[in-house]
Amino acid sequence: MSFSFDTPINTALFLFILYSVERIIFPSASATPKSVPREFKSGYSWMPKSHPPTVLFKTYTPKTLEPFNGKDGGRILLAINGQVFDVTAGRNFYGPNGMYGNFAGRDASRGMAKQSFDLDMLTPIDQPLDKLQDLTSDEIDNMKGWIEHFSNKYIVCGKLVENGAI
């Protein structure tokens, strides 16, 4: 009765049952997919598309550091005591219109030590790096505190050396 063409619904249901039972009793036999899925939803044995992003540690001079001041919308870097921090995440503070925008792309050691954001805290780019010799120990401690803060919040992505040292 169910095989007759008069009741296609029955036939369809019957075929569907046969198919499902077949899938239950004879599951697919291979554990290894042909191409490796790149999303975890596409399959159990998957591999992510790419590695987690990493930044290459580079050596900067005052001249090569200066372009990274965020004015062109790129990365923002600043240096304290020879360590270069990537502060792009803090664009509001260190970007061109930010409160501390003067420090972007420059050596901010003296400013951090003396807790001042004035332009006269910065050494011109073509001159040797600020040796910080005339700072008191309180100011050095203050600067170290800022380095601690920056290390926790931002990535150390390079070091700052004299112009011509590379």
Partner: protein, 562 residues
């Protein structure tokens, strides 16, 4: 006429209802009966925590995702474990079997104290001054000697192969040697061959030396029996030495590196506690090591990793024994085969059924081959069983309690391993290359977590350890490709150096020499500077070279290259 035709086609009757119900049931069965993966695949896509910055020519520093880059490494398996003696827990009172001896922790501590006192009084060893060479195959006396020597701050030497005996005797002559009775003749021969350089040795022999060997002892050499030493220690009041500090070196393990040069790895108490912590964390929290387990190890106690496995067993209160192939020092020259017979050699010890196996790739391959061959003997059922097991594994699920295990695989395992086959609940593979093609058959045959690790004589723990519930399988690029070894272990950080920056910046996988750092890594020392081949900068920052090449995959697991 058309509408009438369609209505004709859609006619339903009682049979439709019945078939509809059956179809709905079957559909629900098929869709929702899919097993849940043992670990969510999203976690397997991020097995390591990667640093955000990397130096040129190197990859970033990778740590285990569970540890993370911010946290400190786990240094000890429990709060109170600082030195070796703390592994023998006084609050655990129940006996367990170590090789042939059923012993409680309290008795073990007594024996250690007695032997330590005996060493100092009878053998004339001095804390802080003497060195002792443990030229012993694995046995309870090895453990007791190790604990006794460590508690009196007498460093012990161990060798990872017997060929190192004569170079080590020449360059670092110990004050005393502890050895097995059957090794005594060859040891004496070697000492006499040393010529005029023979200093005054004290040899402590475990077991009964033959009269012939005793007769050949020269006057400069004093031979004592281990039983005598222990008896002497029991008779008198126990000598107490100052408690060693965790940073004290208690053993030096001599091994030959890839170039054949002899290196000495110094291990402190802290290295071993970190190693035991790492071994404990290889297992999922729900299946952690406990008193009810029995650990079987194919790694000799003379290696740092083998020692850490043994101390894990001691710490957790499990029974413990080693395979026949872990005997490093033999009287005969028979080649060692890592196969099922070797695994079955454990039966000669009166230990309970093994639950955790620490074996080598050769053992796993022959076990799996044997089990699958036995399973194929039930032709009809086996093809179903294989398909169903594979279907489960491709969804990330495997269990020993399924219908197919009861029908096919339990029987096959019992025929290969014997009565205790059902108790094996985890297998850890180290010391060799595990072929990727054997992983899925192994998961079907053993149906328990199989952890692939990478170990090195310089580290008292696994360096890389795969996730225990990881059942992923990837199409291999070649027949001989090795299985991924997983992310760094919980207290090791790793990086590869000598990589091509261009390839990595373009998104490729970093490939280079593997360097490691962490609490369980011992220090290279005790050898002349000219033998040590380590870049100075790496040495300053504490990185140790393993001499292996590895490639890091996007999910954070490392794969070792031949």
């Amino acid at each position: 006429m058309a509408p009438a035709n369609i209505a004709d086609y859609l006619v339903t009757d009682d049979l439709t209802l019945l078939l509809g119900l059956i179809a709905a049931t079957v559909f629900l069965l098929h869709t929702f009966n899919k097993p849940q993966p043992l670990v969510h695949p999203i976690l397997l896509g991020r097995q390591s925590d990667v640093a955000r910055v990397r130096n040129p020519g190197e990859s970033a520093v990778y740590r285990n995702y569970g540890t993370g880059l911010i946290s400190r490494f786990p240094l000890r398996p429990g709060k109170e474990v600082h030195i070796l003696a703390d592994f023998v827990r006084s609050d655990h009172d129940l006996p367990r079997t170590l090789w042939n001896t059923k012993i409680t922790n309290a008795t073990l501590q007594d024996r250690v104290a007695a032997v330590g006192t005996g060493f100092i009084r009878l053998a004339g060893l001095q804390p802080g001054e003497s060195n002792v060479l443990l030229f012993l195959n694995d046995c309870i006396e090895f453990l007791i000697s190790d604990l006794a020597l460590a508690s009196h701050s007498i460093p012990s030497f161990t060798l990872t192969t017997s060929q190192l005996l004569s170079p080590v005797l020449e360059s670092h002559p110990p004050s005393a040697i502890i050895t097995n009775a059957e090794l005594l003749p060859s040891l004496l021969e070697l000492i006499y061959d040393g010529g005029e350089n023979t200093q005054k040795y004290t040899i402590i022999v475990v077991g009964e030396p033959s009269a012939h060997a005793m007769a050949s002892v020269a006057s400069k050499i004093r031979v004592l029996r281990w039983d005598e030493v222990e008896r002497e220690g029991n008779k008198v009041e126990k000598i107490l030495s100052p408690i060693p500090k965790p940073q004290d070196v208690f053993t030096v393990s001599f091994y030959a590196n890839g170039n054949g040069q002899i290196q000495g790895a110094q291990f402190t108490h802290a290295n071993l506690t970190a190693g035991v912590a790492a071994i404990n964390s290889m297992f999922p929290a729900a299946q952690a090591l406990s008193r009810l387990d029995t650990i079987v190890s194919g790694h000799s106690l003379s290696t740092a990793y083998g020692r850490a496995v043994a101390y894990s067993a001691i710490y957790e209160g499990t029974s413990f024994a080693t395979l026949h192939s872990s005997k490093l020092f033999r009287g005969d020259e028979a080649t060692i085969k890592y196969d099922v017979t070797d695994v079955l050699s454990i039966k000669k010890f009166p230990i309970p059924s093994p639950t955790i196996l620490f074996i080598k790739p050769g053992h796993l391959e022959s076990l799996v081959d044997a089990i699958l061959r036995e399973a194929k003997k039930s032709f009809f059922l086996n093809s179903f069983a294989w398909r169903h097991k594979l279907a489960g594994i491709s969804e990330g699920f495997v269990t020993k309690d399924s219908l197919w295990d009861r029908l096919v695989y339990d029987g096959a395992r019992a025929r290969v391993i014997g009565e205790g086959a059902g108790t094996v609940r985890a297998v850890v593979v180290s010391d060799g290359t595990l072929r990727a093609s054997i992983l899925t058959p192994a998961r079907v045959a053993l149906s328990c977590p199989i952890i692939n690790t990478y170990t090195h004589p310089l580290v008292a723990a696994p360096i890389l350890a795969s996730h225990p519930l990881d059942l992923q399988s990837f199409p291999p690029s070649s027949e001989k490709e090795s299985a991924a070894s997983g992310p760094p272990s919980v207290n090791v950080e790793a990086k590869v150096v000598g990589i091509s920056d261009d390839a990595v910046e373009a998104g490729g996988d970093p490939e280079g020499s593997l360097l490691i750092r962490g609490p369980p890594v011992g220090k290279l020392g005790g050898v002349e500077e000219s033998y040590v081949d380590v870049q100075k900068l790496e040495e300053e920052e504490g990185w140790a070279a393993t001499g292996a090449r590895a490639i890091i995959q996007t999910n954070g697991s490392f794969k070792l290259l031949a």
